[in-house]
């Protein structure tokens, strides 16, 4: 009982200093649910250039905060998702996109995996065909060794019978 008496206020005190409460994450309010959806999608698909393996929704880098703000302002002005994305790409390049656009320089990126899969299928098919057309080893056993085997078996059988 005694312990609880001093543990409880201490716990409450610690809660006050808990980092989520201090971490000033900006709260944005939207006029329509659609705007909020667009904003969420944008921040999840745009890459933070400072910590490159995070999107700007998940990063706490100052630049990510600034870009979130820019995205919010534009969404609130009624800009479409594509317009905001173009705005970002104009300044930071395709690198801000987690989903690279399909164009000449990124063709290999998009088609590459399919190409490799195709190559793998061709190789597999050719191996299969080669296997089938090749006479298997069982067919190529010559008469002499067959005869040998037959005799060995017969000898064994005779021994058992005796």
């Amino acid at each position: 009982m005694n312990r609880v008496l001093y543990q409880l206020p201490l716990t409450l005190l610690l809660l006050v200093f808990a980092t989520p409460l201090l971490a000033g994450i900006e709260t944005y309010t939207f006029e329509t649910p659609e705007q909020e959806r667009v904003y969420k999608k944008l921040t999840e698909e745009l890459r933070c250039l400072v910590c490159q393996n995070q999107n700007i929704a998940g990063s706490n880098a100052e630049l990510a905060q600034d870009l979130r703000k820019k995205a919010y302002e534009q969404v609130k002005q009624g800009k479409s998702e594509d317009e905001v994305v173009d705005w970002m790409v104009d300044r930071y390049g395709d690198f801000v996109l987690y989903r690279p656009p399909v164009k000449a320089t990124t063709m290999f990126l998009w088609v590459g995996p399919l190409l490799f899969l195709l190559i793998a299928f061709v190789v597999l098919w050719r191996i299969g065909r080669a296997r089938r057309s090749q006479p298997s080893e069982a067919d190529s056993v010559d008469e002499q060794s067959l005869e040998q085997a037959r005799q060995m078996l017969e000898n064994k059988l005779e021994k058992k019978e005796s």
Partner: protein, 184 residues
């Protein structure tokens, strides 16, 4: 013909290794800027030392100049500062400072301590001009030609050592600007 069965996959493998090796040699922190070859974004901003006076990027039309993004809190800026100073003082390069997300008092003290190579420094306390230029780390520098087109973006500190990024070497940048200077 039979030997081809091994040669083709081997060549394939070698090509793949070469591709991956090339990728390893690249610095992922160096994001190519889409602004190179485009008109430098226009901006008008307060000057650090004379806040009542505005500076506009258009003021320098007809000149080759450098926009050097710096901040007093930026450690690598100190490393390149000596070279920026050399470019300005010894080679007569026009360098404009973009004082990025800084406190004016800190920025002024920093310049007092390390010397001021800038024709002027403009304040970008909110980082808005920085975003227009696609700045994502400090220091960065933009080389702008007489027509106001960004011709090169230097990411990270300028250096004068052969061991560091050759595209950031001060000699290379000076040579590049000499070439721009010769253009009409």
């Amino acid at each position: 013909m039979k030997s081809m069965r091994y040669v083709v996959p081997l060549l394939f493998f070698i090509a793949l290794v070469a591709l991956l090796l090339k990728g390893l040699g690249q610095d992922p922190k160096e994001v190519p800027s889409p602004l190179v070859g485009k008109q430098a974004p226009a901006f008008t901003a307060q000057q650090l030392h004379v806040p009542e006076k505005q500076f506009s990027a258009a003021d320098l039309k007809g000149q080759v100049w450098v926009l050097n993004v710096w901040a007093s809190w930026c450690f690598s800026c100190r490393a390149e500062h000596e070279l920026v100073t050399r470019m300005a003082r010894e080679h007569g390069i026009t360098v404009v400072g973009l004082n990025y997300k800084d406190e004016p008092a800190d920025a002024k003290a920093w310049l007092q301590q390390f010397g001021n190579p800038y024709v002027t420094s403009v304040m970008d306390q909110q980082g808005d001009i920085g975003i227009e230029y696609g700045v994502y780390g400090v220091p960065e520098s933009f080389i702008i030609d007489k027509a106001g087109v960004i011709r090169r973006k230097v990411i990270g500190p300028i250096n004068d050592s052969p061991d560091e990024k050759p595209q950031n070497s001060v000699e290379e940048l000076l040579a590049f600007m000499n070439k721009l200077e010769a253009e009409e």
